[in-house]
Symmetry: C2
Subunit: 123 residues, 2 copies
Amino acid sequence: MSKATNTKVETVRYYERIGLLPKPPRTAGNYRDYGEAELGRLSFIRRARDLGFSLDQVRALLGLSDDRSCDCAGIDHIANEHLREVDRKIADLKALRRELKAVIDSCDGGIVADCRIIEALAP
Amino acid sequence: MSKATNTKVETVRYYERIGLLPKPPRTAGNYRDYGEAELGRLSFIRRARDLGFSLDQVRALLGLSDDRSCDCAGIDHIANEHLREVDRKIADLKALRRELKAVIDSCDGGIVADCRIIEALAP
DNA sequence: TCTAGGGTCTGTAGTAGCTACAGGGTCAAG
DNA sequence: CTTGACCCTGTAGCTACTACAGACCCTAGA
């Protein structure tokens, strides 16, 4: 299952420990014995993680997706909140990038004593 | 000093513990007794952190900035590497945002069983 | 002089999300 | 029957802090 989902074995066990994956039955040799359901669940987790959802959000999504007859407003809500978070991060990084670029561009070589980067960082 | 640099007291002590700040002399009552030099150093650290440099990068910058007669290519290198990192992060987040948006847009309400978000996350 | 309130001190443990061992057990192939 | 590749548990490490507990100190007011 680890290979099928491109997940490290330790990560799978970690997900089990924090309750994202159920404790599976064991083989005679005490190996975890996963079926299709767990594979699907892990794939879901991985895909959501790839989209940047936090483990708490993934947990919520899994909970909501279990009740197939509920309406999907809750799911929509989590996804949109995450989208806003991502937008915020992009904006923050762009602002940071601008500032960093300005600091870097101000330096035109020479010795440290004259370095504008150091100067820009100093108080 | 904590107030002057808008840094939590615990963070200052943390920087001392990991060797970013020197162990300062103590007052009679065992309080840390900081001077101007430490204030400058902490300001430098905070500013660099605000620009997204890692603590390791900050450590390197501090080390390089100590030798005022060296040329500032090393500093330039660290800063530019960080800039590239930031650019990479922005690109990654934008790609993620696109994908996330597509997933969200595909859903037009209804019950969970028909939810395209869940469907898009499932294997 | 006492006391209340703010600060500080050390040390430890917690956060997110894994990752990396150590030291053992299991299993299939040769 | 051994070798090598997997699995098992449990614990500690990573980043960059943050949050206590339980002690101590210092100053201002009654």
